[in-house]
Amino acid sequence: MSTEEHPIQIPNSTARPLELTDDFSPGETNFIKVDNFKFFYGKKEALHGINLEIPSRRVISFIGPSGCGKSTLLRNFNRMNELIPGVRHEGDITIHGTSIFDPSVEVIALRRRIGMVFQKSNPFPMSIYENIVYPLRIAGQGDRSVHDETVERCLCSAALWDEVKDRLHDSALGLSGGQMQRLCIARAIASSPEILLMDEPCSALDPIATAKVEELIIELKKDFTIVIVTHNMQQASRVSELTAFFYLGNLVEFDETRKIFTNPSKLQTEEYITGRFG
């Protein structure tokens, strides 16, 4: 595809190092590193060589028109795409400098270090309590006091504790849509992952529930590196510090969110965020 520059020349943003200006301790700047990463569904190449460095303890949003490969890249971070038959990849993704595709890396262990929240909330048909304890149980943690502590901590983090503390042992399916999604977030952070992946986590929620989840995301970035896929431009600008714009399987632009939304370097980015296509 063409990587036509903006008529008014602005220095290529992906080339210069990111300067993040706020109070948070910077953390590693290349915590997740995507290195010339290509991904194939059968013969179809969905990602055409992505290069991306994600710093830790930030919120990064992936934006771009439908089908551009946002979910595909996101689902590679925890190797969920491997569940689909006939897929393969080229290039590499490293976390903390270790390739996630290294034969010594166990996919189970990888997924425990990376929480994932899906577009449609997917609580298990068990109690609220058991939903959150699930990742602990499969990790072999059977201690009741650890369970109790984790349930309270994660529900508090997910801003759900006050709403459900009196019915922890009721079925999770009795919650409202927004509560279910926050429960799924609580469950995703129960095994204390370092990274939280969210694929359009608010697209099935009403504005109030969305606002709650957004507040939650901003709160959670103190402890997690959060990558969020969203179609909602306001959401991207509200919650994320960095934004990556994808188009047709390419990373077009990656920069500070503020810059992407006020002064993008690429014409395609500008056209997309101003709603001229996508």
Binding site: N78, A109, R111, R112, G115, K120, N122, R187, A188
Partner: protein, 320 residues
């Protein structure tokens, strides 16, 4: 009704015509429905009527009595009731794990799809084999096996009441094993359909939390499908209780109370099939009383199964 079109000529006649035609079919369907319900009421009433002399004469003692001797006009059906429930329960004990394992293999992608379809077809074919053929197969295959291995078992473990000898070929165990095979398709089909409707998002959610495939199956998929699996077991239990021909050929038709799985026993349906032809007088009435018990028992079991099944469908509908 029809007020809108009363003065629009052609349209009006057309509408009326449309109304009249479905009315005929509707009537026919309604008639068939009512007929079915009436038939059920009629059958139940007829059995009750014929059983009445025995109900009047033996009362509740019929159910608790352990002797069945038509010559002395003593009729107690307890051993047969126990045999009915025990044989169905044993059949379930064998068929449920087996059927569930098959259902899992058919719903998960352990095997390539064409192979899964073949297995599914073969299991469903089991349901098409006539009862009497199962009975013959039991006589020629299962009876010799039970006799052979039962003798060995009772020689070593005969001190256990359940395995006390001698090992007759015609026994509770034989009937239960064949019954297990007969109810296998019921369990497999219903369990499988409740397993395949478990939403993919739940599997995905479990994998994303670092669960292995078996952890996902055991902790998420099976519990989600549990009500459907329970329903399949209940319905299979009901089917096993009503099963007649094969059981009558294999169970040994003995009304003696025994703990041993290797001893002959009897079930309500086998009792009816075996004795009705030669029965007269109060024995007919006693058999009708037994039939009434059987109908009541299967009705309760089937109703319970249907209820659980319906609840499952509602619960999983909420998941999607």
């Amino acid at each position: 009704m029809g007020g809108h079109f009363s003065n629009t000529g052609a349209l009006s006649t057309l509408t009326q015509e449309y109304r009249r035609r479905p009315d005929f079919f509707r009537g026919a369907c309604l008639f068939a429905c009512i007929l079915t319900v009436l038939l059920l009421v009629f059958i139940f009433g007829e059995i009750l009527l014929k059983a009445w002399p025995a109900i009047h004469k033996f009362g509740f003692g019929f159910i608790t009595g352990t002797q069945w001797s038509p010559n002395r006009e003593v009729f107690g059906v307890l051993p047969v009731l126990i045999g009915t429930i025990a044989s169905s329960f044993l059949a379930l004990l064998v068929a449920l794990p087996l059927g569930l394992a098959i259902a899992l293999f058919l719903s998960e992608d352990f095997l390539p799809d064409p192979l899964r379809q073949v297995i599914r077809f073969v299991v469903e074919l089991l349901a098409a084999i006539p009862s009497v053929v199962y009975g013959l197969w039991g006589i020629f295959v299962v009876i010799p096996l039970v006799q052979q291995y039962g003798t060995i078992l009772s020689a070593h473990f005969g001190f256990l009441p359940l395995l006390a000898g001698p090992a007759y070929g015609n026994s509770l165990l034989t009937a239960s094993l064949v019954l297990a095979l007969m109810v296998l398709p019921t369990i497999t089909a219903i369990s499988r359909s409740s397993l395949v409707v478990v939403p993919y998002s739940l599997r995905e959610g479990s994998y994303a939390l670092g669960a292995t495939r078996w952890e996902t199956i055991l902790r998420v998929i099976l519990p989600t499908a549990a009500p459907g699996i329970v329903a399949s077991a209940i319905l299979a239990f009901g089917r096993a209780m009503g099963e007649t021909m094969a059981v009558a050929m294999l169970i040994g038709n003995s009304q003696r109370l025994s703990w041993s799985l290797l001893s002959p026993s009897n079930t309500l349906s086998a009792l009816l099939a075996n004795q009705f032809a030669e029965a007269d007088g109060i024995q007919i009435s006693a058999l009708m009383y037994a039939a009434l018990l059987l109908v009541a028992l299967t009705l309760v079991v089937n109703l319970a199964g249907e209820m659980v099944l319906r609840q499952t469908q509602r619960a999983t509908a909420g998941l999607r």
